[in-house]
Symmetry: D2
Subunit: 258 residues, 4 copies
């Protein structure tokens, strides 16, 4: 944990489940609909402290987790949900020091989460051929403290990733099957691939490409998350929920016996 | 990635989705229902290599991920599923170097996953007052390469954890509400708590205790995971699935304004 | 099926999944955002016919099913969804000629579906102590062709239903446990009860009351329905879904051995 | 409700959620693992009565609902679950007096549920080209009181159903798209079709055939049902659940403007 907040730190200002914001501590006021904060007043406070707006409204000042930061990213594309990100990171088996290739970068949400998992000395090479997305992702990553672990490549890797012997490959674009062979070449033996596909047709084609191109231990899942109201005496799932984001496919590279 | 397998390494031998085993590379044979392997033959191979049993059956030799290891743990208690572990690790915001307290240890499954997330220089203090569980967990942890990051405590922490200023607290036992106040005291400001509760009644009492004892940003969710068959032309969810494991509650410590 | 539409019939005008309306065939125009229909032009047409608006927009004129009518009801209260209604009707075992008591009427949605199930010669006695809800429900029921099978009672039945030897009892109000004993008295031996409860606390109390008051074969379920996009090559669940409506509890009256 | 049980009636003997049986009341004993019943002793009892076995074990004697009967059917094929049957019956809008065509009959489970919905004067024409399935279904239907409403046809209707102007068509076989055109011809205008498809590929092809062949108001859904434990203080979903049965597609016949 950060000992205390200092100028330039990012802070998560939390009022209630619907009102929370990420901002940087600098000269100036942060305005809410119920009073403002002088951001400089946060300097020297330990994270988690409850402070009050000019109108006496309490707000907690938290150090943002990577999932908070990702949630605040500008998103030109559909963003993956914590249910999918958490599952994939765990099943990819990412750890400090790992090297990962990713395509496409999109908003950089997954890039950030991966970089966080391989910090402090791992590396993420992320490919995105739409330049405006790459720029947006770069800007998003600057909000995190892991941007220095990310190499952005404005290249289409369907002809091949530049990296070799990587620990994991992550594919999150519309035609993931095109990246299966390049990913196989980039991965070390036993390296893990994760693919995200919104439609069952994409899932079908990705799974077939993986089976045909040297991957084993394939598993495809769909995660559903239900949020709960927990008021005493009135416990129940929320009335609305996210119905679908993407199928998550995990598989591992095998190397034929010589 | 491990460059090549060497004596003493753990290996995941993968035949198909229902037949895979974790074993240690040493003198001797590993028997499957379709032939055996001489384990010494794996020494010097790169992970991910397809080898053949004495009867010509192909088997892949993978380096186990932490989720593979956890899946192979002896489990005196209900074990958490990847859907829950992945989500909780991500929402806890764990990172290399973090310090975590956990109660109770159970089979050590979550302990191992947490230790993996805070490696190489973080630390997990795990509390379990049932001595036989603790022993089983210690034995399980020895299968991983992160056991040196874990301190086992055969103590009931309801009177207080021994640690202070920890980054995260994880509660996985039958009466989690008793651990809320001790967890608050152990956590640094803004530190994150995760609780796992199988019943709605436990969820209700845990949530109430969190709201009454200085936690904010409470969210309670339930995750469902559906496995898919991906054979071309026959894509469909599996006929059976896990219906329920536990509700996952996440909240953050707040410190009142002085 | 109605041979052909005639004046006074209700018609479901269907343009697309988001634009469909129920109206009565009478003198006058029905306006859509893309032209109008002269409703009289529908007279003499067989149901299911595609007609065109004044601007050439095709619209199908269907005979409304009971589920279409219910969907168009004014709803002062939360309405039950087809997933719950269909399941409950089937598990209640309702059939032509059955007699049913219901409390509370609410918008009359479930009342209409039950009446449809017991038509043409069954009967529904529905209790609602909020007079304005009862009026709204009566008006809603008039849209259906089963209103003559419904007896509305502006009475609180917690002291006892007026009916005896009924085939089924349906409880859909906030404190369903209060109606368990009255329902037992109203039901014939083996009669089936269905209860709808949004929270798990209500479910818990209802289930306990049923077990304590002469009911057996208790089952409690929660139904989730996921809508699918079925465009060729892009099959996937919808991005948003209903997360929760109510738990459905079914149980049967037993009569102790004399 | 049956006034009292008489010889020849079917009875549901209910001991607990895992031990319940359907049998016919006749001369002889019904043996359970905890004593037997003289079935003749049930004659003259009202349904719902608790009786005792020779060893004093209480058992409730219920009149079986159609869903109980269906649950007891011999099933050469995968049987549909109440979640799917209830939803489909409700969305088909079936009512007393309706005429329905069905293909294939399978175990007759859906046939029975449909017949129950259109009783006492409706009719179901069910097509099954596998003779052994048809025989099994006929035997199953004889357990119900609606078998006289069912006409079995050992014919492949892909060349055309024999019926015309039916209210509903139900398709439950492996290549449902072949039955779309025949169903259109058999249905009255606005008539409703329901199709059941286990795989997403079948769903995709069925939906396309419906859109291409004169059907509108298409909706495709998947239903999940979770059973709950409701013991006081320990409310939670069951640990295991059915993961998937079939996608349910509903659509209505439209007739082009002349």
């Amino acid at each position: 944990m950060t000992a205390t907040f200092k100028e330039g730190d990012l802070v998560l200002l939390y009022q209630d489940p619907r009102r929370h914001w990420i901002t940087r501590i600098r000269e100036g006021r942060f305005h809410t609909h119920r009073g403002y904060l002088d951001l400089k007043d946060l300097i020297g406070l330990e994270p988690g402290r409850l402070v009050k707006t000019s109108l006496g409204q309490p707000i907690a000042a938290f150090e943002p987790r990577i999932s908070d930061l990702v949630d605040s990213f500008d998103r030109p594309t559909q963003i993956l949900y914590p249910k999918d990100v958490g599952y994939a990171l765990y099943r990819l088996g990412l750890k400090s020091g790992d090297t990962v290739v990713e395509v496409g970068t999109g908003s950089g949400a997954l890039t950030a989460a991966i970089a966080r998992s391989v910090a402090p000395n791992g590396r993420v090479y992320t490919y995105e051929n739409r330049r405006e997305f790459l720029k947006s992702a770069q800007k998003n990553l600057e909000k995190t403290d892991v941007s220095q672990l990310v190499t952005f490549r404005n290249v289409d890797p369907s002809e091949g990733f530049l990296e070799r012997e990587v620990d994991a490959a992550v594919i999150d674009l519309g035609d993931p099957w095109k990246m299966v062979q390049p990913a196989w070449e980039a991965l070390a033996g036993g390296g893990v691939l994760a693919g995200f596909t919104p439609t069952m047709n994409q899932l079908e084609k990705l799974a077939e490409a993986l089976r045909m191109n040297g991957f084993l231990a394939l598993e495809a899942v769909e995660l559903l998350v239900r949020e709960f109201k927990t008021e005493t005496g009135k416990v129940r799932p929320e009335s609305r929920m996210v119905g679908h984001t993407a199928y998550v496919t995990i598989a591992r590279k095998v190397v034929p016996k010589e």
